[in-house]
Symmetry: C2
Subunit: 215 residues, 2 copies
Amino acid sequence: MVANDNIAIENDLLLKKHKTVAINIMASPGAGKTSFILRTIDKLSRSFRIGVIEGDTSAATIDADKISELGFPAVQINTGGDCHLDANMLKSGLDNLTLSNLDLVLVENVGNLVCPAAFKLGTYKNILVASIPEGDDKPYKYPAMYSAVDVLIINKIDLLPYVPFNMEYFITGVKMLNPGLISFPISCKTDEGLEAWVNWVKTTVADFRHGINDK
Amino acid sequence: MVANDNIAIENDLLLKKHKTVAINIMASPGAGKTSFILRTIDKLSRSFRIGVIEGDTSAATIDADKISELGFPAVQINTGGDCHLDANMLKSGLDNLTLSNLDLVLVENVGNLVCPAAFKLGTYKNILVASIPEGDDKPYKYPAMYSAVDVLIINKIDLLPYVPFNMEYFITGVKMLNPGLISFPISCKTDEGLEAWVNWVKTTVADFRHGINDK
């Protein structure tokens, strides 16, 4: 773990050297991380040069292919069955991107609500994509993940009419664990709520650059 | 891992001694394991004496409480943040149930499509609950899990009209990994498909008892 954290610090320094913001995107399998990344790229590709790192437990390049097909640089990391990315895996991913040509790197972690939360990668921000059909009790059941992130995306709100989901109960659990957590309810199907998320990314990239220039 | 497998063998022998069938239920977070267990109990409580072991990464007893409220014995195992049950945890769960009074123990593993597949528990059958909103690409992305199970439940089929899900693509991935896998498409909301699953459990319990009596 100490070794991991040291490499995470190196990743952070490398990214700052290139003025590249990296965002670690964690979620349960099927919460919609890849669709979320695709919609984010679509909305930000005029503002930023974007690359993607795709963490997978197998060699299947389904997600990386979807990004590459749109003409954006995408690197797949096959964890070889491991249940999370670690800092060393991210390092190898970053080494395969031309960081000097990128403003923003979106990192799709392995779909898992437990292990990824424990491994720092050296990304500037860590976010969680929750989704409505997963149910409203997830903060209570996976507290480590909900405590560890800077931003919460609440995805698939278009499914609210079709599944039981008590938003108040969900948010109460979130606030108990992570009182100041910024959250964006969105739908990648209807685009609802995506504008607010995209504006947050723009502000975050600006803050990151100011922080570097101030030093 | 060898130590784990040895304890799994002990669990298997203990369960056989008491003529109790245990089923390990694995899934992604939010696939609907608990609802599935509740519907299964409802449909089988006249045929069998049923107990439940609930694996959670935290102390929240939400799921165990739902079972207990219905009057069935339920034991919670808090993994203390660990991402899966192991054989030793199951052993402690079994020790807290009166096995001589139980025909069937349903074991809800931690919500995770990676780690639980690697740890034998000593249960008679291992099953996976997939769910429609997770998406049709999960067999391709989590092959170890899809390869490791005896039965596949395809849950939340009532949501098929509202989400993109290509059943043919999904089933092709499943068959590639696990050709003989028995699967039950179901909805715990409408009860569609539950009868076939319940009949499979009845046959499985009968087979298990014959196997013991033949020895």
